[in-house]
Symmetry: C2
Subunit: 353 residues, 2 copies
Amino acid sequence: MTELRTETEHRPADGHEATMLLERARAEVDPVLRAAVGTLPGPMRRIARYHFGWEHADGTPAAGGSGKAIRPALVLAGASALGGPGARAAAVRAAAAVELVHNFTLLHDDVMDRDTTRRHRPTAWTVFGDAAAILAGDALQALALRLLAEDAHPAAPAAAARLAQCVIELCAGQHADTAMEGRPPRDVTLEETLAMAEAKTGALLGSACAVGALYADAPEADVAALDAFGREAGLAFQLIDDVIGIWGDPRHTGKPAGADLAARKKSLPVVAALTSGGPAAAELAALYAAPHAKEDLERITLTVERAGGRDWAQALAADRMARAMQELARAVPDPEAAGGLLALAEFVTRRTT
Amino acid sequence: MTELRTETEHRPADGHEATMLLERARAEVDPVLRAAVGTLPGPMRRIARYHFGWEHADGTPAAGGSGKAIRPALVLAGASALGGPGARAAAVRAAAAVELVHNFTLLHDDVMDRDTTRRHRPTAWTVFGDAAAILAGDALQALALRLLAEDAHPAAPAAAARLAQCVIELCAGQHADTAMEGRPPRDVTLEETLAMAEAKTGALLGSACAVGALYADAPEADVAALDAFGREAGLAFQLIDDVIGIWGDPRHTGKPAGADLAARKKSLPVVAALTSGGPAAAELAALYAAPHAKEDLERITLTVERAGGRDWAQALAADRMARAMQELARAVPDPEAAGGLLALAEFVTRRTT
């Protein structure tokens, strides 16, 4: 449920295809998204428009972007890979539904995590209050599933069921995350942290691809393979995002430097470092248990790296990407047809190399 | 989104048909509800089972009831009235979906309203924390719409769209309610309080009836009339519930005496009293503005009554019920067929007479 925190203008030149796919997805999905949000009752509409970056807090129009459209792009690329342009065109509404679900979880996560900044702006709950942000999130979930219920495409019910089940998994993932926050760092295992990341991030990327496959009328085995592709790529995404959260440039992440470490977040590189067993692990455990001091952040960052947290995360991200490629090749053997999904997955993981 | 707060054992004898319908609905819907909740991941399942009264906080089985099943009973009665026993049997899953939506809103409302007691037990957020209760609510909404997405009945997509749209209205109603709480009592109009009550309570009762009509393959005019019937009865329901919230016996309401007044809630009888214009209205405004003192509760209760709040609420409840009957007669002219819906609507409003 995390937003990718780097800026597109810093992408390497070979991300061109992905950038084009993202921009095209944004251009196709945004009108559906804006029209859907436009049907919400006044206050819900206002909060949603603020959250998407379309309006300032006072309701005046804003030019801000509403995220990278990775998930809608995956829906459209999945439909296109298995069903061609016709399936792609039919899946635009479903792509908007997936984006609505993503944004519902962002609204709620920010309330629960007390995160104050999102996409370089104050989060909705800091502007409108907790109750308003919770309700706007509730309304966006309902809007997402209403869009699919109103879609006459034969794939719509299966897509709705899959997306609803994904929401349940996202909730379980976020619950595991918040429950983990309250536990001593030493008690948290790498296995449960990975399971949490898969539920929080992998599930929705997988569902996005699977929904695309459903709109291509693909057989269940291919739908499952695209789901697995998205899940594996999603875990790679999360690993890289956690790396960026620790070692990324705050000018690009939109978050203060070291915010994850200052909040003593048990992100994947941190848990890997804590459970690595060496002297750096013990040092990190002591640092993480100590009261929060700003001058410690640099030392913590270094200790996570010395304990192998950064290398581990990057190696596992590469491994998960390799698995994602296998799943993709299974569902879409034609490299030409698979190109869009491949480009999007690579776009996500290329960012730190 | 309020639970009716009186106990069934105190019903008058002529509520027999309604009681039977409620018990039958509970018996038919509960297995579907329990099976659906059983598919949730561990922690979400546990919170949901606690909330429904099926388990204690420690996970051991509880015999507690999970509410009166008014909404599922309305779905089934609506289907039966317009489509007979076949439609009724086909609508059981949809009835469970409506009950899940209702309970999702209860979980979230309790978090926002900081209500600590529900159905005579500590609310879920007091036991599991805010984040867990929010997430369990999110999961129940998703589960409701998943049930409908998985339902092969031809009415399922229209029912899902209607229920999702209803959730959006419920959110707007709850938002209006929470926004109203922060405003000076004198600024709140009766009109907006009625609109809020219709969105918060009328919308879901109306949708329950409409969903039943959809499963009976009823023409759109009849679906709309049953929706209006449920809305009008729902507003009567809320008026009576507000009356019970002020003048009801705490042994039956499951809430401490005068809790609504102590919290300075702008319930319908209170706003009617505040806007009634007489000397009692001015006295009530002064009392409501003063710091909360327990000994004032009796005086506030009396002043709301003297300002006409109680009589107004009961008269308007009767008026709304009359309108509900008109809508019902339009959709279901045969009194025999309309009997179930009529009995349920009367059950709801008979409680204070």
